[in-house]
């Protein structure tokens, strides 16, 4: 029964996650940026914009310029999260891909780094008055949810081992639309449930920042407004109303 419920939840969460992100991407892509507003100095060509975005995504360049502590904690968290996620591919691949094997040991340290990064971010949110002022309940809860995921994951490794073979069989089963037995370990179920919750809220919350940055006009626009005319579709309609444009009245 539990296996079935979790299977349904996983399928549902996956659909909501992928569908939600797809809808958001579609929405952002079709919403025009009526004016050229890159934060200057900005790249003068597409190649430059590509690298600007790459630097933002890989190194968090602007955040580094802004605040070294936030950068350190969030970089630690995000990089560790990436490693942990990649490590988890071993539960979905058979045989396990060679490079997933290689990062396997780092993934475990990353679990700790991720936890520490999250705790540091949470402490900042609680104790620095400026950050506390701008925080909503959801901002704390999201950190706590991520902490729960990290802690329950680590607990399965270091506190109470789960039948990892069975978990893998269950996950591989889901991929081929078969429902296998899921071990009924409370820690495992907590871990999985919190991941499912995270997947569901991702597209409808600030977690969307990971996708949104690529659509940010201040970062993804080219500094070429003098050379190339930029015009939004809705603004084209105004062009028909050029009463001033070729008018005869002399100044």
């Amino acid at each position: 029964m539990v296996s079935l419920i979790f299977a349904i939840l996983f399928y549902l969460a996956t659909i909501l996650l992928l569908g939600g992100i797809a809808i958001k991407i579609w929405n952002y892509a079709k919403t025009p940026a009526p004016l050229k507003i890159p934060t200057m100095p900005a790249p003068r060509n597409g190649r430059g914009v590509f690298f600007r975005l790459l630097r933002e995504v890989i190194f968090f360049e602007s955040l580094f310029k802004s605040n070294k502590w936030i950068w350190l904690f969030s970089y630690m968290f995000h990089l560790a999260l990436l490693l942990v996620l990649l490590r988890h591919l071993r539960y979905f691949t058979q045989p396990v891909w060679w490079w997933v094997e290689i990062i396997q040991p780092f993934g475990i340290y990353a679990g700790f780094a991720m936890t520490m990064g999250l705790i540091a971010l949470l402490l900042r949110r609680i104790f620095i008055k400026r950050i506390k002022y701008i925080s909503n309940l959801s901002d704390y809860l999201m950190l706590l949810l991520l902490l729960l995921i990290a802690a329950s994951g680590l607990a399965m490794k270091f506190v109470s081992h789960t039948d990892i073979i069975a978990v893998k069989a269950y996950m591989l089963g889901l991929l081929s639309l078969q429902i296998k037995e899921l071990p009924l370990s409370p820690i495992l179920l907590t871990h999985l449930l919190s991941v499912i919750l995270l997947m569901i809220i991702f597209p409808i919350s600030k977690l969307l920042h990971g996708v949104g940055i690529f659509f940010s006009p201040t970062r993804n626009q080219i500094d070429n407004s003098r050379e190339k005319r930029h015009l939004a579709d809705w603004a084209k309609k105004l062009e028909n109303n050029n009463f001033e444009r070729e008018g005869g009245r002399n100044g």
Partner: protein, 530 residues
């Protein structure tokens, strides 16, 4: 407030020092509301409409569909706090609602309530709020405490630009009849008469003729300030403050001398006698476009080949980044030159080609620094390489001054601190805000005075110049310590061609600006004051 005033003149503060939070410190600061007539002139309701709530909420939805930046930035902020100490108004006031993210949240909380799943069903979880009259008042107050300088957008990991939110907020307020007097009155004037001051073509002509006479008396050269001359090569679009305010006017005389030396025919237009475009400040594409189209029409009617903009910060943002969009394509102009071009680019090119030369000693009484105006620094460029907007004005200043020094690197270029008066806030009732907002810049200047003996600050923005001439006396500098870049050009430019006449010519070259400033100048006064 007492604290802030008492410690500023005594010791120099770190310009970027983070203040203690003082909740509600600036809650009562707000600009005067617009006269109903000025609202209707711009196509807005005369006063607060009865169904303000529905209209405002619908407007939020409309903007979210028309402007990706608005929607995206309301969606993706993670409240990391990177921007919280970046706004000069926060640094100057300590009011937490002047932190960029908190300023955005005033609108984000309402957007969430009506346009997001979480806000609709779990408002308490994500801080979503129903729109109320109190919130409208809060918007009116705090979205008029943002100069749209975009410093926060430099430091945001996603490039979230509070200027986009504050422009949208003002557009929403305008759409329900809560316009701001200063902006709307000026836009109405500019749309009717061609400039922010409401100067008639006749008055403008008379002013320019007087200035031409002065120029001839001062220099012995027949330097022109042409108006409405058809067939000129260049149309100069300059802020109307250049026609009457100090030190702006000395900049105008500088442009005239540069054109004179370049031997190029030019003209100004009485129909488009304004570079400033306050349509941007209220986020109104339509009003911004109406003003931009005047420039297009003037260029066509006068049959010019090029358009050059004078020293004005947000005007240059609109010109460089938006003009092609709003009033293009400019296929009738000479495509061999940038369209439009900045006067600093024009002068820079002449310097590079050796067509104008300077006697730098004419500016020896000035120890100069450069204030990067926010809209030029973060909203535009000059030349063809990123960062030209920082290099060009500095190169021009160094070409005509022997003593040039930069302020602290964290307070200039893309990190520049706003003058405190931009974005439609340059109005007397906001003087307290303007003073506090200017204090980080003033601290950086005081540092430069301490370290390098800097006496003067040059700028290429009409708003910066007006703001600083009012604000600098509060920080121990004379009101004439703010200079136009082309004022320094004007002082030092060598007008005579013959080397033998050089000495005679130089004596005559002292311009009005130099005389005025020179008399009051004394490096030591600055030191003691700061």
């Amino acid at each position: 407030m007492v604290e802030a005033n008492s410690d500023s003149p005594d010791k120099i503060k770190d310009p970027l020092e983070i203040p203690k939070l003082i909740c509600g410190a600036m809650a009562d600061i707000r600009p005067y509301p617009a006269h109903p007539q000025h609202n209707t002139d711009l196509g807005f309701p005369p006063e607060l409409i009865d169904n303000w709530k529905e209209v405002a909420i619908a407007k939020i939805g409309e903007l979210a569909e028309k402007n990706r930046a608005f929607k995206l930035y309301l969606d993706i902020c993670v409240k990391c706090g990177a921007c919280t100490d970046k706004c000069h108004y926060f640094l100057g006031t300590g009011d937490p609602k002047n932190m960029p993210v908190a300023r955005q949240d005033l609108l984000r909380s309402v957007y969430r309530r009506y346009y997001t799943f979480a806000g609709k069903y779990f408002p308490w979880l994500v801080g979503a709020r129903d729109l109320t009259k109190e919130i409208l008042e809060e918007w009116y107050s705090y979205y008029h405490q943002c100069s749209q300088c975009r410093r926060c957008s430099v430091f945001c990991p996603y490039g979230i630009d509070t200027a986009e939110i504050s422009m949208a907020a003002r557009e929403i307020l305008d759409s329900i009849g809560m316009g701001q007097k200063y902006c709307n009155e000026i836009i109405a004037k500019a749309e009717k008469l061609g400039n922010n001051l409401g100067l008639s073509p006749k008055a403008l002509k008379a002013t320019l003729e007087d200035l031409e006479e002065e120029l001839e008396d001062d220099t012995g050269h027949k330097i022109r300030l042409p108006l409405d001359e058809k067939g000129a090569d260049i149309l100069l679009i300059t802020p109307s403050a250049d026609f009457f305010a100090e030190p702006h006017i000395d900049g105008l005389l500088g442009y005239a001398k540069v054109f004179y030396k370049a031997g190029i025919s030019w003209t100004m237009s009485s129909y488009a006698s304004e570079a400033a475009n306050f349509g941007m400040f209220i986020g109104s594409y339509e009003n911004m476009r109406a003003l931009a189209l005047r420039i297009r029409k003037a260029a066509i009617d006068l049959g010019v080949k090029r358009i050059i903009f004078g020293e004005c910060g947000h005007a240059w943002r609109v010109a460089y980044s938006f003009l092609n969009t709003l009033a293009g394509p400019f296929d009738f102009l000479d495509q061999n030159y940038p369209i439009p071009q900045h006067i600093v680019e024009f002068t820079y090119d002449l310097i590079q080609k050796g067509k104008i030369k300077f006697d730098k000693s004419k500016n020896d009484e000035y120890r100069v620094t450069f204030h990067d105006s926010c809209n030029v620094a973060r909203g535009s460029n000059m030349g063809t390489i990123p960062g030209g907007q920082f290099e060009y004005p500095r190169a021009v200043l160094k070409a005509c001054c022997n003593h040039y020094y930069d302020m602290d690197r964290d307070t200039i270029m893309e990190s520049t601190l706003c003058c405190g008066g931009g974005g439609g806030l340059l109005t007397d009732e906001l003087m307290d805000l303007r003073t506090k907002g200017a204090s980080p810049r003033m601290s950086a200047l005081q540092q430069a005075s301490e370290d390098y003996g800097v006496t003067h600050m040059a700028a290429i923005c009409a708003i910066c110049k007006t703001q600083f001439s009012k604000i600098m006396p509060k920080f121990g500098y004379g009101m004439d310590k703010i200079l136009s870049v082309h004022q320094l050009v004007s002082n030092a430019i060598i007008l005579d061609d013959e080397p033998s006449e050089k000495n005679n010519g130089q004596n005559k070259q002292t311009t009005k600006g130099t005389k005025q400033n020179g008399a009051k100048l004394a490096n030591k006064d600055d030191k003691e004051a700061s």
